[in-house]
């Protein structure tokens, strides 16, 4: 016969579906009443912003979109904010990506930066080279010979016919790289671009990558870092255009608070019922 559970034991064994509902309802709150809490800028995001502000008109910057559509909420706001900033600095952009859905991400990036891209001319101010496969080997090859990886842009135009690409063929022709990713791609650029050629590199990653790349940032290998939605919100604040990430910070705040409450409840139940178990 099953033993009757005490209140504390029940507190330590709440069904997971209860938490799913609590989180679901909790995440609805910002839609009804936005919290709009102040966002302070972390040093890694500020360094990223400051370096992008030092880009001179005509500098060629590489944006590596190494995330799929599933990571748009985390990576896209910061990528869009950096792209806007680079365009306003007068930089020329090369956009590439190792994910098969990079076309979608590129279109979304253009949509989010529509006003800025409208001032640019394709082929002269920016180029989209599209998808590339081959992992670290292809990143190494890009560093020494762009044209062996991308003989044409994503639309089949030979690189030599694109005015912007006339004198661009290797890592040292690039002013800086922004690697926006959910995995190891920034490591590839560290090993194949940053270390051998000294190309300045920054990471725009999901929150989980913050811990992985923070040692590189602290060692000066990365000039800046944007971590998850928070990084995106910080960049939006720095460029003075609150957008998606700023709104999503409300959901982040509520979900994090709920996690803390759930952990506290679990531990209270655990300690209160421990005596009985003994």
């Amino acid at each position: 016969m099953s033993e009757e559970l005490t209140f504390w034991e029940k507190l330590a064994r709440i069904d997971r579906r209860v938490f799913y509902w609590i989180l679901f309802i909790g995440l609805m709150v910002p839609f009804i009443r936005p919290l709009g809490l102040a966002i302070t800028v972390s040093p890694s995001t500020r360094d990223l912003y400051e370096e992008l502000r030092r880009v001179q008109p005509g500098d060629v910057c590489l944006i590596n979109i190494a995330f799929g559509v599933s990571a748009w909420p985390e990576c896209m706001p910061a990528t869009a904010a950096c792209t806007k900033l680079l365009i306003r600095q007068g930089a020329k952009l090369i956009i590439i990506g190792p994910y098969y859905d990079v076309d979608l991400s590129y279109e979304e990036l253009k949509r989010r930066c529509a006003e800025d891209f409208a001032k640019l001319k394709y082929g002269e101010d920016y180029v989209y080279l599209g998808f590339y496969a081959g992992g670290e080997a292809v990143v190494a090859q890009l560093a020494s010979d762009f044209r062996s990886v991308f003989p044409t842009d994503a639309y089949g135009t030979p690189l030599d016919e694109l005015p912007m690409m006339k004198n661009i063929n290797k890592a040292t022709d690039i002013r800086l790289v922004l690697s926006s990713d959910t995995g190891d791609w920034c490591s590839y650029y560290i090993r194949q671009w940053r270390i051998p050629y000294g190309v300045p590199l920054a990471e725009i990653g999901i929150a989980m990558l913050g811990s992985e790349y923070m040692p590189h940032y602290r060692a000066g290998i990365l000039f800046g870092m944007s971590v998850g939605v928070r990084g995106g919100a910080e960049l939006e604040k720095l460029i003075g255009e609150p957008a998606d990430a700023t709104i999503r910070m409300d959901a982040i705040n509520i979900s994090h608070i709920l996690v803390i409450i759930a952990v506290l409840l679990g531990n209270i139940g655990y300690f209160a019922s421990r005596g009985k178990r003994r």
Binding site: Y20, I39, V138, M214, G228, R230, M249, N253, V259
Partner: protein, 217 residues
């Protein structure tokens, strides 16, 4: 060619390529031989993508033929959607050199794929929430320390932490800067030495895992 000889050829090719890459990286900078080899690697990677698609189709056709319980109906859906995406993408490429110029391809990618992809990723938040409740228990002193540090870091990542108390991000950043960063740095350095050891073992023909063998056999 005997199996032993064939294996030795693989080890020899691996060793030669390792030496070429090593020499290029540490002594030359850019070497045309290494560049050529990397171009081969890129071509092989692209062929592997096509091969993967063929393999995927073969596996799911087999599922349907064998009526594998709980799987074969999904395999039918996979093959139907694979064919639709492939043909519509090909039509778009043939028309305007851009697969997304085809409306069917564009619609499938833009709406079902994007929404489903983001939904799947977002669902992990619910699992993390319930897992944190069940696993984050202060069962001993080590777990208690982890719990305390974890709570501060969680509240540091959310702006609400500094609204609750301005000291939370200060403590959270201390845990990150003096706990996490050195720990991760140690891990990265050790992993780098491990990679070096792996490279030397591959160079000497002692690392045979990539050939489907267990080292030492």
């Amino acid at each position: 060619m005997s199996e032993v000889l064939r294996r030795e050829v693989v080890y020899l090719v691996t060793a030669i390529i390792t030496i070429i890459m090593f020499v290029e990286f540490f002594f030359i900078g850019t070497w045309s031989v290494a560049e050529e080899l990397r171009t081969w690697a890129i071509i092989i990677a692209n062929i592997a993508l096509g091969l993967g698609a063929v393999r995927l189709l073969a596996e799911h056709v087999r599922n349907i033929q064998r009526r594998r319980a709980g799987v074969w109906s999904f395999s039918i859906w996979l093959i139907i959607l694979f064919v639709v995406m492939f043909l519509s993408g090909l039509a778009g490429y043939a028309a305007k050199h851009d697969p997304s110029s085809n409306p069917v391809y564009n619609w499938l990618f833009k709406w079902p794929y994007t929404s489903l992809g983001q939904t799947l990723y977002a669902i992990t938040g619910f699992y993390i929430f319930s897992a944190a409740y069940r696993a984050f228990r202060a069962r001993n002193i080590d777990a208690a320390l982890l719990l305390i540090a974890g709570c501060f870091v969680i509240l540091t990542n959310a702006t609400v932490g500094e609204v609750i108390w301005s000291g939370i991000p200060v403590i959270g950043r201390w845990f990150l800067d003096y706990g996490q960063v050195p720990g991760m740095r140690c891990f990265l350095i050790v992993a780098a030495f491990g990679m070096l050891a792996y490279g030397f073992r591959a160079l000497l023909g002692r690392e045979r895992g990539f050939y489907g063998e267990v080292a030492g056999e």
